[in-house]
Symmetry: C2
Subunit: 134 residues, 2 copies
């Protein structure tokens, strides 16, 4: 069962090929994500990951790992604080802020940090429900 103050971490990185496939399936073909030549002329200097690909990591962790099966995703706030790049190691960090036991809900802080620099790239908060695990 999920408890107040509990944390869960999940390491990840995405390749350029995965970013290209995300662009293809979502239709988000902004060239800043997929075209190195275009990206080189922007403030980012090289292709950046879609912010929503990072956010999809939160969804993955909630749905399959923590709390896992049966989780229903109710809310998510997202602040895209710094660009994320391909082939860089990131860590998604989940901290349980509040358990609403009678509603089987929890408020969970969601962060993505660059594993080398420690910089927070994405921050936010989720509200999830799980009848068996919260």
């Amino acid at each position: 069962m999920i408890e107040n103050g509990q944390t869960y971490t999940h390491d990840f990185k995405f390749t350029q090929d995965e970013v290209n496939r995300f662009a293809e399936v979502t239709g988000d073909k902004n060239p800043v994500h997929t075209d190195a030549e275009f990206a080189a002329k922007t403030m980012f200097k090289k292709p950046i990951m879609h912010g929503m690909l990072g956010a999809a990591l939160f969804s993955k962790v909630f749905g399959v790992l923590f709390p896992g099966e049966g989780t229903i995703y109710l809310k998510q706030s997202l602040s895209f604080l710094k660009p994320m790049y391909v082939d860089i190691d990131y860590e998604a960090i989940f901290t349980v802020k509040e358990v609403i036991k009678d509603k089987h809900r929890a408020i969970i802080e969601t962060l993505i940090k660059d594993k080398i620099t420690g910089n927070v790239c994405t921050s936010g908060e989720a509200l999830v429900m799980n009848m068996d695990r919260i």
Copy 2:
């Protein structure tokens, strides 16, 4: 240039194959999205789209359509109010709530509605920046 009160709409639907590809690339392989037999035993009755796939539509519109090229995505809040299903027609509706001219930023309400029932499935608010178009 983006103006206060301006709206923009974008129709979309996703197939089961696209949902499967989204599951594959993001790693969010919760069977409620991809396994009809599993989904039939849940409250949803049939596979549901990933909420973040709907949210990725917001990112697509901001990045390539409205305001379009050069948009930087700063914040997004998301409330997943109702499940979304494959092969159903949805409409993403964007309403400019506030233009912060000197910072080239705008607060934009983001909704996804079922085109037949009119039900709001996802609601939220975005903060975006575009040096040329806001």
